[in-house]
């Protein structure tokens, strides 16, 4: 009895000492602030901040706070509230960033870009993109297999069965960029959400870089690179540029006046607010998006 007590006690004592010295020798100094800051973050590990997860951002925030400047870091899903709390914790100025949202730059719905062939492969845009052009004759259009919806962790997206296009729910979108990465045709872009209760934003809903005639043949709402929007905007803020047969509206410059929308002969420019059609046009006011 005594014998075993001493033996086991002795063994336990030896190991306890080894553990004690190892713990001393390899002790890692951990900043308690990291855990505290992390607790303030949303904890969804979306990666929108550019770090692998919330811990990464928390560490970066603590490191930046040492230098008294956290303005370069931002948590898009947390928004102003989270960043305000973090800034208060450090006693620094809160970084500001206008809220953003994922925007689909394609309007090649079943109606606008009639499908010419049927795709019956695995339900994956990545596979469909590799195998061919899928149904639509446009080689830049949405493949309608929903890789973006699968990639989205925030239920901010769903496929509209009527159009074959994904729809972004602005309120849920954290602009983490998962859909941007998932889309094999690079159709998503993180753009400024816009101001106001019903955020105003304008964008070119097309990525087709074919010549105008080819693009138009495959899709009725393709950008045909006529340059009307560029000329219109040049007299206002010069937010629109033309490259590779495709117009692009710079969201940082655009004031969402909507003047370019009725100018577009194919209706490739979408806006989140109703835009009055031009006099000669008898069409409905262009209004789409959320």
């Amino acid at each position: 009895m005594m014998y075993s007590l001493f033996t086991l006690g002795g063994v336990a004592g030896v190991f306890a000492m080894i553990l004690y010295f190892v713990a001393k020798r390899f002790h890692v100094e951990e900043d308690p602030r990291v855990a505290e800051v992390e607790a303030m973050l949303p904890g969804i590990n979306c990666g929108a901040c550019g770090f692998p997860g919330c811990t990464g951002l928390a560490e970066a925030l603590v490191a930046a706070a040492e230098k008294k400047d956290i303005s370069a870091l931002y948590c898009p899903p947390g928004g102003a509230d989270t960043m305000g709390a973090v800034a208060e914790y450090f006693g620094l100025a809160a970084p500001t960033s206008a809220p953003t949202v994922a925007v689909l730059r394609c309007n090649g719905s079943y109606a606008n870009s009639p499908r010419k062939a049927e795709y019956d492969g695995p339900s994956s845009c990545a596979v469909a993109h590799k195998l061919g052009t899928s149904g639509s004759a446009c080689t830049y259009s949405c493949l309608s297999e929903g890789d973006c919806v699968t990639a989205c962790n925030f239920e901010a997206m769903y496929m509209d069965p009527a159009t074959g296009l994904p729809v972004v729910i602005d309120e849920n979108c954290t602009s983490c960029g998962a859909c941007v990465k998932a889309c094999p045709r690079d159709l998503f872009e993180i753009r400024l959400l816009g101001k106001g209760k019903k955020p105003r934003r304008v964008w070119i809903a097309c990525r087709n870089r074919d010549r105008g005639a080819v693009a138009r043949k495959n899709c009725s709402v393709a950008c045909i690179a006529c340059g009307k929007c560029v000329r219109t905007c040049d007299t206002i803020v010069k937010a629109i540029s033309m490259k590779d047969n495709l117009a692009y509206i710079d969201p940082d410059i655009c004031i969402a006046c909507g003047k370019c929308v009725p100018e577009c002969p194919t209706g490739a420019i979408l806006a989140t607010f109703p835009v009055k059609a031009k006099q000669e046009d008898s069409g409905e006011p262009v209004s789409t998006g959320s």
């Binding site: 590799k130 195998l131 061919g132 052009t133």
Partner: protein
């Protein structure tokens, strides 16, 4: 037991329904669209412009890069425009559109059928001529043939392997070529043998073509270096590495080329094209295309000018059957479903296959049951189920470690899978991603 490769492989039903249809020349269409990129590597640079008059066999696109090939006009007429044309996948590629006027051939091209046996050119001159003729591998991959014959320093070849296997079901283009142009083809093999500087050439033919084996065995008797090897039927025996293993017993190491084991492989179609260019000065502007399918009223083997539309070939074979579910460019195993029938026949188009809706249907996808069938049929010894998993989980490093790049996309795994899983589709994704990452690493 006749020879074959030892690892993996399957044997899908032959269905060679056009095997008895003699090669017939297809009428020259009113307009052709000749793609400038019909081969692996850089597309050729156009040297004609709209309005130019061209003759058949005239150079219209010039080699642009080390791995690239010349493009010649397949018809005589006027260049209409240089514009996009869809490739079998549907993506736009540059092509020269020519409006056909008559059938006049460029000077120096011998269109007669007289056999020209004696080979006067030496090794370098032959390779130069193959390069000039824009000859590419006719087996499917369309790799520029002259590049195969630029043997890297320190390597020596001792055997030329000629691929007469045609292991893809339905296709009979090579089979007919061997039967009808055996003499020309054998001279072509002899030319390639000289170009490679070797004594020995082996023609591998599968047992389901006994007539071709018999004919070529008889005819090759007069060439001391050429032997015919009868091979057991097994798909994908027509793949370079499998054919070398079957014919010579040598194994090409992972990620290496056949020259590593002293071999070069060429298709019988390539040998025929080489004969046409070296002996008759005719560049590669036409090829045999099998137009077939169970519902097709007149399954045929056509001699088609490059640039002729698929629709014209299908029309000549009796038109598109009503119940067509898919039109495949190539064979059923490795071919691609085409979305547009106006696309042109290229140097690598071995067949146009029409499958009915039931034949073309993809199976319902079920869960993997870990049966290992995909592993046992993979001719490269890979683990397709695992690579698929890695690809779905974006684990590209692991996919690369599992030798995904050795996959030649033969499709045995997808064919055999009892759960109908799209294994090859995801392996292709993995290969693409690994390639991108390798390029990114190399550019760093």
């Amino acid at each position: 037991m006749s020879k074959t490769f030892p690892m993996g492989g399957i044997h899908p039903p032959d269905t060679k329904i056009s095997a008895t249809a003699a090669i017939t020349p297809l009428a020259i269409p009113a307009e052709v669209a000749i793609p400038l990129g019909q081969h692996i590597g850089a597309p050729a640079g156009p040297i004609v412009k709209a309005g130019d008059k061209v003759k058949a066999g005239q150079l219209i696109g010039e080699i642009a890069g080390f791995i690239s090939a010349n493009i010649h006009s397949s018809v005589s007429g006027t260049v209409k425009k240089i514009d996009d044309v869809a490739d079998p996948c549907g993506y736009p590629k540059k092509a020269v559109y020519i409006t056909v006027e008559g059938d006049e051939w460029a000077e120096g091209i011998d269109r007669s059928t007289t056999l020209k046996k004696e080979i006067t050119l030496d090794r370098d001159a032959i390779v130069e001529k193959i390069k000039a003729g824009g000859i590419v591998g006719m087996g499917g991959a369309s790799f520029p043939t002259n590049v195969k014959y630029m043997i890297p320093e320190g390597k020596t070849a001792d055997t030329l392997v000629i691929n007469g296997v045609e292991c893809e079901p339905y296709l009979t283009a090579d089979h007919r070529l061997m039967l009808e142009h055996a003499d020309e083809m054998l001279v072509g093999v002899e030319i390639l043998r000289i170009a490679l500087g070797v004594e020995k050439a082996v023609i591998g033919i599968e047992e389901n073509k006994p007539d071709a084996i018999k004919l070529l065995s008889e005819k090759s008797a007069e060439y001391s270096g050429i032997t015919v090897e009868s091979l057991h039927m097994q798909y994908p025996q027509g793949a370079e590495k499998q054919l070398i293993k079957a014919c010579t017993g040598r194994e090409v190491p992972s990620g290496k080329l056949p020259i590593e084991v002293g071999c070069a492989v060429n298709n019988v179609g390539t040998a025929y094209a080489v004969y046409q260019m070296v002996q008759k000065n005719q560049p590669l502007v036409e090829r045999v295309v099998t137009v077939t399918g169970k519902q097709v009223s007149n399954p045929s083997n056509f001699l088609v000018r490059v640039g002729t539309s698929y629709a014209a070939c299908i029309e000549a074979a009796g038109g598109l059957p009503e119940d067509t579910g898919k039109v495949i460019s190539g064979g059923p195993m490795m071919g691609m479903a085409v979305a547009d029938l106006s696309i042109p026949v290229a140097k690598g188009t071995s067949g146009i296959l029409m499958l009915s809706k039931t034949e073309a249907r993809r199976p319902e996808v079920e869960n993997c049951i870990r049966c290992g069938a995909c592993v046992s049929v993979c001719p490269m010894g890979l683990e397709p189920y695992l690579i698929e998993k890695f690809a779905r989980a974006d684990k590209w490093d692991q996919a690369e470690q599992r030798a995904s790049m050795d996959c030649m996309e033969c499709g045995c795994c997808s064919y055999i899978c009892p759960s109908g899983r799209p294994l090859l589709d995801y392996i292709r994704i993995a290969k693409g991603e690994i390639n991108n990452r390798r390029r990114a690493r190399a550019s760093q």
